[in-house]
């Protein structure tokens, strides 16, 4: 980054321009795994938001001390440390949720999105821009999870955040693993459709080819 974009721009980029889930198609596993309900999706999003921001800040603070040759392992350890903090924090204060998604909280460490932001952004920028970049990416991720969780819980259980909304028999399939894939595919298709319809389809996320 030769020019310094405004903090608002960095923040917005994570939400719309490069939304981790719908646009970059990174870190898909948790996006499907924990979104069977709105609450789980929201809490997972918060956890990722926290880890992403803190990892970005730490990487940025340490960027002058980390030798380029060992940078990837160093980033992994920074991320793993913050994930451990989150993991233990959640285990202590949100036991019921932790019982359901403890494994996925631990696996935040392997999210490509966090590592890729450390590598692409935080390692080259000062602390404040890195903080806002992490915040934007985290919020973008949180939004994506909330949207998917919203639809899956509404259709699959007829409720939102545990409170019943619809009275009729729900579509059980939406909270099963298969429904997660369907919801994800249809939402992605919908985002692409909007993109093609209103923005000329410049950055359709259909290309795939991501990992993590």
């Amino acid at each position: 980054m030769s020019t310094t974009p405004s903090y608002w721009h960095l923040f917005r980029n994570g939400i719309f321009g490069e939304n981790p889930v719908f646009r970059l198609a990174l870190s898909l596993c948790p996006a499907v795994a924990v979104t069977s309900g709105l609450k789980n999706g929201f809490l997972m999003g918060i956890a990722v938001l926290f880890v992403q921001t803190m990892a970005n800040v730490t990487t940025s603070l340490l960027r002058k001390f980390i030798h380029p040759k060992v940078r990837i392992p160093s980033y992994m350890f920074i991320i793993a440390t913050w994930v451990t903090v989150t993991d233990l924090g959640m285990a202590a204060y949100a036991r019921d949720v932790y019982a359901q998604m403890g494994l996925y909280i631990k696996l935040i460490v392997a999210f490509a999105i966090i590592l890729s932001r450390s590598e692409l952004f935080a390692s080259k920028n000062k602390v404040t821009p890195s903080f806002f970049d992490g915040l934007g990416m985290g919020v973008g991720f949180l939004l994506a999870l909330v949207i998917i969780g919203f639809f899956r819980e509404l259709l699959g259980k007829g409720s939102l955040w545990g409170y019943p909304i619809i009275d009729t028999k729900p579509l059980l399939i939406m909270i099963l693993p298969a429904g997660g894939f369907f919801a994800m595919g249809i939402l992605m298709g919908f985002f692409n459709w909007i993109d093609i319809k209103f923005f000329g389809g410049k950055g359709a996320s259909g290309a795939g080819g991501s990992h993590g």
């Binding site: 198609a25 990174l26 870190s27 898909l28 596993c29 948790p30 499907v32 795994a33 990837i72 392992p73 992994m76 350890f77 793993a80 440390t81 994930v83 451990t84 993991d87 233990l88 403890g102 494994l103 631990k106 696996l107 460490v109 392997a110 999210f111 490509a112 590592l115 399939i173 099963l176 693993p177 298969a178 429904g179 997660g180 894939f181 369907f182 994800m184 595919g185 249809i186 992605m188 298709g189 919908f190 692409n192 459709w193 993109d195 093609i196 389809g201 359709a204 996320s205 259909g206 290309a207 795939g208 080819g209 991501s210 990992h211 993590g212």
Partner: protein, 195 residues
């Protein structure tokens, strides 16, 4: 008795609790490399072997180093370190010993460290309290399940090349819908074995 248990473990890990279709792990790799059959097969082989070895390695480290020292809370940091170190070592050794294999599978090795599925195996082993042999078999079963998923997906995607998919669904969205359909089919395996 012991043998039946191990067999059940493999069936459970590969079919019933398939990492991709029931636990949604490894999706990024799953969607990334299943465009071509031979990459999918190469990836399957690499993954299965790394999973078995990392299951064994991490079990030894957990049981003999972390447990006596009371370092259980550091499991994430240590496991990811062990996997990263092991993959790096495998990379270097393969380059020296078997360059042919390295050029075919080396690129996949680099992708492995940041993959959730590799890390999930030791974490599951610890939380389920498997012994050494069971850990190895759990790793093997998970690897077989993941390979199966990738090979099924790769063959469907080869057919998909000829299909007329709506523009907004091309690429990832349609792959997700297909995965959903396969996941439905895999749902049929649930209840096959009760562990």
């Amino acid at each position: 008795m012991e043998f039946t248990k191990l067999f059940e473990l493999i069936i459970a890990a590969s079919l019933i609790n398939n990492f991709v279709f029931a636990k949604y792990l490894g999706l990024c790799i799953f969607f990334g490399v299943t465009k071509k059959m031979d990459t999918a097969i190469g990836m399957s082989l690499t993954f299965t072997s790394v999973m078995v070895i990392s299951a064994g390695l991490n079990w030894i480290i957990y049981e003999f180093i972390m447990k006596p020292l009371g370092l259980g809370f550091l499991e994430i940091v240590i496991f990811i370190g062990v996997v990263a170190g092991f993959v790096q070592a495998a990379d270097t050794i393969m380059k020296k010993v078997s360059p042919g294999l390295y050029y075919r599978l080396g690129i996949y090795l680099a992708l492995i460290t940041t993959n959730c599925i590799i890390l999930a195996v030791p974490l599951e082993n610890v939380s389920s309290g498997y012994n050494f042999i069971e850990s190895l078999f759990f790793g093997l079963g998970s690897g077989i399940g993941f390979s199966l998923a990738m090979i099924i997906m790769a063959s469907i995607r080869e057919k998909l090349e000829l299909a007329d998919v709506p523009k907004s669904f091309q690429g990832l969205p349609i792959s997700f819908v297909i995965t959903g359909l396969i996941a439905l089919a895999f749902l049929g395996f649930s209840g096959l074995i009760t562990l």
